[in-house]
Subunit: 233 residues, 2 copies
DNA sequence: CTTCAACTGCGATCGATGTTCGCAGTTCTG
DNA sequence: CAGAACTGCGAACATCGATCGCAGTTGAAG
């Protein structure tokens, strides 16, 4: 049954027939729980079915493919993004939205993997987009620039959150491959070539006391003001 | 044989024993050819072995895992990045490097998938980093800000190139899922809710004549100047 | 030159995964 | 009440990454 439609346009329940035992959101919730605990790779069809007490093939009555399950999971996670009412200052509003995005991503690190390649676009993601556009509604700037700014903002927030998660994970478990990478990096830094990198590497471990939120604010603000050349501070 | 070392620190040839029939770069080249033609998913161990005329299990004499093969491929692709000599203006130099990054990514679109989650760090990627730091060497700015700027730049270039590739692909083949997404988007835009999104959607299809390179320059310049608050231009 | 440990290529195979097929049971509709 | 439509799902298939063990080959030590 090749359903070419998007899952968001496909009706959840069939018109006729017995009532389904589960629903999409239940599948998504089970997938989110699994991914939160053991990463996105642990979200296999069989694992989700087991968590639900269902047979491995039952899930295909609700979703057409695993990709769609991930899409449901992403949108469910995005539903946790709070949308505060706009306060008039577009920079502050957008910064608040960026903080929400970061918070949810820290709570569900697998979002980085799920949204790295594809760009799921469910109702809650759409609501996020609408919110961001609403924050910029007072700005006298072409729509294209606003969409660009939002896309760049999203990319930057993702990148920042990714390094934050990576560093936090390295601090706890130091999981082999990170160790191997550090070894290679010090090898590169002390090799004599790459002088700039060596200097940066040495300077990096010196003063690291800036709070993460402050760094986050500084970078996001810089990027946004650079893109929308604001006159406000 | 659990080799915990990075592949870049592991010796390519063994000290004793017969000469290997292939080498790492040959594997990487075969993988790149396959990925260029049919995407990263087509780079399976068996496919690479077939392309080389080798048995499916032979590759594991050169790499420990498929991840390492992808790492080799990424670094080989990054070797195509040209490093022009610095011209004194850091913004121009960094912009040139960004263009090189975009060019190589357009030539090897699978780089987006390969670098989406992981961040391979081979010799050529390190050389790129060194070049970017070198371009900023004249700036009176803490090293941390330079590293941040480079990371953000990389994220932005990736995002821009991804949308560019996606749109180009949609223009040619319009591959089903894009069609489904467009259907959902128009459904959202015409639903009455999401007024800002509807307005943006309507305005987007109006005037689209800005050349891609110009848009690229504009955004990258905006982001960089916003981050490093340049006084130039 | 001999010897042998070390390495190479690789066929066979394992476990896991996403997905399909067909069937029995269930439920809503006309 | 009868049949159509749908559900749950056991079994199976193709494909994937990875492992194991063996025969053949090489290079260095004595």
């Amino acid at each position: 049954m090749a359903t070419a439609d998007s899952i968001w346009l496909r009706p959840e329940r069939a018109a006729r027939g017995p009532a389904p035992g589960y629903d999409r959101d239940t599948l998504a919730a089970a997938g989110v729980t699994l991914a939160d605990a053991h990463g996105l790779a642990a979200v296999t069809m069989r694992a989700v079915a087991d968590a639900l007490g269902a047979g491995p093939a039952s899930l295909y009555r609700y979703i057409a493919t695993r990709e769609e399950l991930v899409e449901l999971m992403v949108d469910r996670a995005h539903s946790e993004i709070r949308h505060p009412e706009p306060g008039g200052d577009w920079l502050e509003d957008l910064l608040g939205l960026a903080h929400e995005s970061r918070r949810v991503t820290l709570a569900h690190p697998w979002l980085l993997d799920a949204t790295a390649t594809r760009t799921p676009l469910g109702p809650n993601t759409v609501a996020y987009l609408e919110g961001a556009l609403g924050a910029l509604s007072g700005l006298e700037v072409p729509y294209r620039a606003k969409l660009e700014a939002i896309a760049v903002l999203s990319a930057v927030v993702t990148a920042l959150t990714r390094t934050e998660i990576t560093q936090a994970r390295a601090g706890r478990t130091l999981p082999q491959w990170q160790q191997a990478r550090a070894a290679y990096l010090t090898h590169v830094a002390t090799s004599g070539q790459h002088p700039h990198l060596a200097a940066a590497f040495a300077a990096q471990n010196a003063d690291d006391d800036e709070p993460v939120e402050h760094l986050f604010d500084r970078i996001v603000t810089g990027v946004l003001t650079g893109l929308l050349h604001s006159d406000a501070v």
